[in-house]
């Protein structure tokens, strides 16, 4: 399968409690062969980065639906850099089209919204991790 041998952390930064998307993606990544760790709700970027390093993951997926994606992605990127962690970062949730470029510039390897097919999200993650 496309993600055999890969370890992925799905995380909910900030206070947003909507976790449907995070769980759907977690289930799909697992179905595609990845080992998936899910943080549960309400985690700080520092906590997420610490888990990412301890669990030695290949990628982190942040799920954000509260409109705080620009701040939370910036904080996560900074925490990753501070720790010298080289991990692919993906962002999913209610992200307006107008913010996609800013997130990519901040360091997100992919930005996914609810309307994308789950299979396309999994394929995009697999492609990035194959590089």
């Amino acid at each position: 399968m496309a993600l055999n041998g890969k370890r992925i952390l799905i995380a909910k930064p900030g206070l947003d409690g909507h976790d449907v998307g995070a769980k759907i993606i977690a289930l799909a990544l697992r179905d595609a062969g990845a080992e998936v760790i899910y943080t549960g709700l309400r985690k700080s970027p520092e906590y997420i980065v610490r888990v990412a390093i301890e669990e030695d993951v290949d990628a982190v997926g942040l799920s954000i639906l509260s409109g705080s994606h620009l701040e939370l992605v910036a904080e996560t990127v900074k925490a990753l850099a501070d720790q010298g962690a080289e991990v692919a970062l993906f962002v999913g949730g209610t992200i307006p089209q107008t913010d996609h470029a800013a997130l990519a510039a901040a360091g997100a390897a992919g930005v996914f919204t609810a309307e994308m097919k789950v299979a396309d999200v999994v394929a995009a993650v697999a492609e990035t991790l194959a590089k």
């Binding site: 900030g14 206070l15 976790d19 769980k23 549960g40 309400r42 409109g67 089209q97």
Partner: protein
């Protein structure tokens, strides 16, 4: 160039989203003619004998963003446009019990709702608005008893008698553990706080609904219409049991239990859901608790039209979706309706989109004729058949939850959480495969710029700074000794299980103690909920 051809479109299947297969024709011999009348048990046709002829539903748009001043201005705009009730959206720090200075709070200040960190913000929110003259609903759960206390304190300060307060506080923690996620404390102390609020409110603010037991969030998180109602009624029974255990009188408190649901796109499924749920709740209260007082058996509910049924592709199509859902809510007999704005799938509504959402309700109310007679679909072979089928399905869901050990256990152990996640995955697969048709997204899609929409909402970037400034000003100006004394009394009362905490919370609010301070006191006593991470 080849000739233009008609796009035949997808095939319309016989199944409604709940999974019930609908016959091509439903005939009279398939339904039992009941000759039921509205306003009498079991209320299938509605709780009032005259439906909307006596009083229209409340047009209540969920709204709030930034700081109290911006939201106050939006409320005045909405009231000017003919909105008839307020619905306060609170930001996540307020919902999760963090003061704006907390590191977890900083990025979220004012994003999904208004920041209310102490009584002084509540006073600004209602500046020039009389809480005794307009009904107000608060979507708040983890900190619901605190926000209720703050509202009562604000009314006290304005000199508004408590018995004039009308409105609703969501105050339904059970569904927060499954969907939406603004829990704070473990289940048991949370249930105590909810019961305390209901019992106190019944006495002090008798016209105010101290709970709105919500299915909406289960639904948007992935479950079917049948499960939405089944989960909700199971939660409702858990609250009734808790209230009875704390000495409540069911005939009294049941009059003020209210409910809240999503309306999604299958019009008849939604109408049947409300008719079946209304009937089933009355039957459950009668069968299990021997309630006979009609007022205590009445299932009163508000709805939201939109949510996950709205999409970002071709967003103007959402106006049509909300119109159909609005009609379903009216045909189902809702007491209050919130119609989402077409851009709500991806941003805080602009003033323009918010106005269209209000106008939608006015068109349904005054032009469509749907409100002219009670339960206009009553007696339709299809609707009556589907109402029966859905009631059977809902009873089955409740039985499954009870077989597990009841709603509280099913939530503490994550059973409802994983059931919801699995349902969400299936729902998404059906959309991805094109079996569930979503026009403009998985069928009839265009990727050529028609996804654009007029106006982008931009939250004032200075909001956070302003909120923090006002927060500091309160800490500097209040009588700190009074705030500390009130918090100390709260702490002591929290240690006594038999003590109702509401008078203490109201005292804290009057002393300008902050939401974060009150929550910190209770957290130190009770700890925090440990989420069962299941998917």
């Amino acid at each position: 160039m080849s000739d233009a051809k008609a796009n035949p479109g997808p095939t319309l299947g016989p199944e409604i989203p709940s999974g019930i297969e609908v016959p091509e024709v439903v005939t009279g011999d398939m339904v039992e003619g009941s000759g039921e009348r509205p306003g009498v048990y079991p209320f299938t046709r509605g709780i009032f004998p005259n439906g909307y002829r006596g009083r229209l539903w409340t047009i209540r748009q969920y709204s709030g963003f930034g700081s109290a001043e911006e939201t106050n201005a939006r409320y005045k705009f909405l009231l000017d446009q003919g909105q008839t009730g307020l619905s306060v959206a609170l930001d996540l720090p307020t919902q999760c019990g963090y003061d704006p200075t907390h590191p977890m709070a900083r990025p979220e200040i004012g994003k999904v709702g208004v920041s209310l960190s102490s009584l002084s913000e509540m006073e600004l929110l209602f500046d020039g608005i009389d809480p005794g003259a307009i009904s107000t609903s608060f979507t708040i759960n983890g900190t619901a008893p605190i926000i209720y206390a703050m509202y009562v304190a604000a009314a006290d300060k304005k000199g508004v008698a408590r018995d004039r307060l009308t409105g609703t506080i969501q105050n339904d923690i059970l569904k927060e553990y499954v969907a939406r996620g603004t829990w704070i404390f473990p289940v048991k102390p949370s249930m105590r706080l909810i019961a305390d609020t209901i019992l106190y409110a019944n006495r002090q603010t008798p016209r105010f609904n101290p709970i709105s037991i919500a299915g909406a969030h289960f639904r948007d998180a992935g479950v079917s219409a049948i499960e939405e109602m089944g989960f909700t009624l199971a939660d409702g029974l858990a609250y009734v049991d808790e209230l009875l255990a704390r000495g409540g009188d069911v005939t009294h408190f049941a009059r003020r239990l209210s409910f809240f649901f999503y309306v999604h796109m299958d019009l008849f499924e939604e109408v049947a859901k409300f008719r079946a749920g209304r009937r089933l709740w009355a039957k459950l209260l009668r069968e299990r608790y021997g309630v006979t007082d009609p007022k205590a058996l009445m299932f009163r509910f508000g709805v939201v039209c939109g949510g996950s049924s709205l999409i970002a592709s071709q967003p103007y199509n959402n106006i049509v979706r909300v119109g159909i859902e609005n009609l379903a809510a009216v045909l189902g007999g809702a007491q209050s309706i919130f119609t989402c704005a077409y851009d709500e799938a991806f941003q805080i509504p602009t003033e323009t989109s918010a106005e269209i959402a209000v106008r939608t309700q006015q068109i349904v109310a005054y032009e469509s004729g749907a409100a002219r007679t009670v339960d206009p679909l009553g007696g339709s072979h299809y609707v009556e058949w589907l109402t029966d089928e859905m009631e059977t399905g809902m009873r089955q869901v409740i039985d499954e939850i009870e077989a597990y050990g009841g709603a509280v256990k099913a939530i503490e152990e994550g059973y409802l959480q994983s059931r919801t996640a699995q349902a969400a995955k299936r729902r998404k697969e059906k959309i991805d495969e094109g079996e569930t048709v979503v026009v403009g997204q998985n069928h009839f899609r265009r990727d050529d710029g028609t996804n654009d929409f007029g106006e982008v909402f931009r939250l004032d970037p200075e909001v956070s700074a302003r909120v923090l400034e006002k927060y500091q000003a309160i800490l500097d100006s209040r009588d700190n000794a009074a705030a500390e004394a009130a918090l100390g009394a709260l702490d002591e009362a929290a240690g006594e299980d038999g003590e109702n905490l509401l008078p203490y919370l109201i005292e804290c609010c009057h002393a300008y103690a902050t939401v974060g301070e009150m929550v910190a006191v209770l957290k130190a006593r009770w700890g925090e909920f440990q989420e069962p991470v299941k998917f």
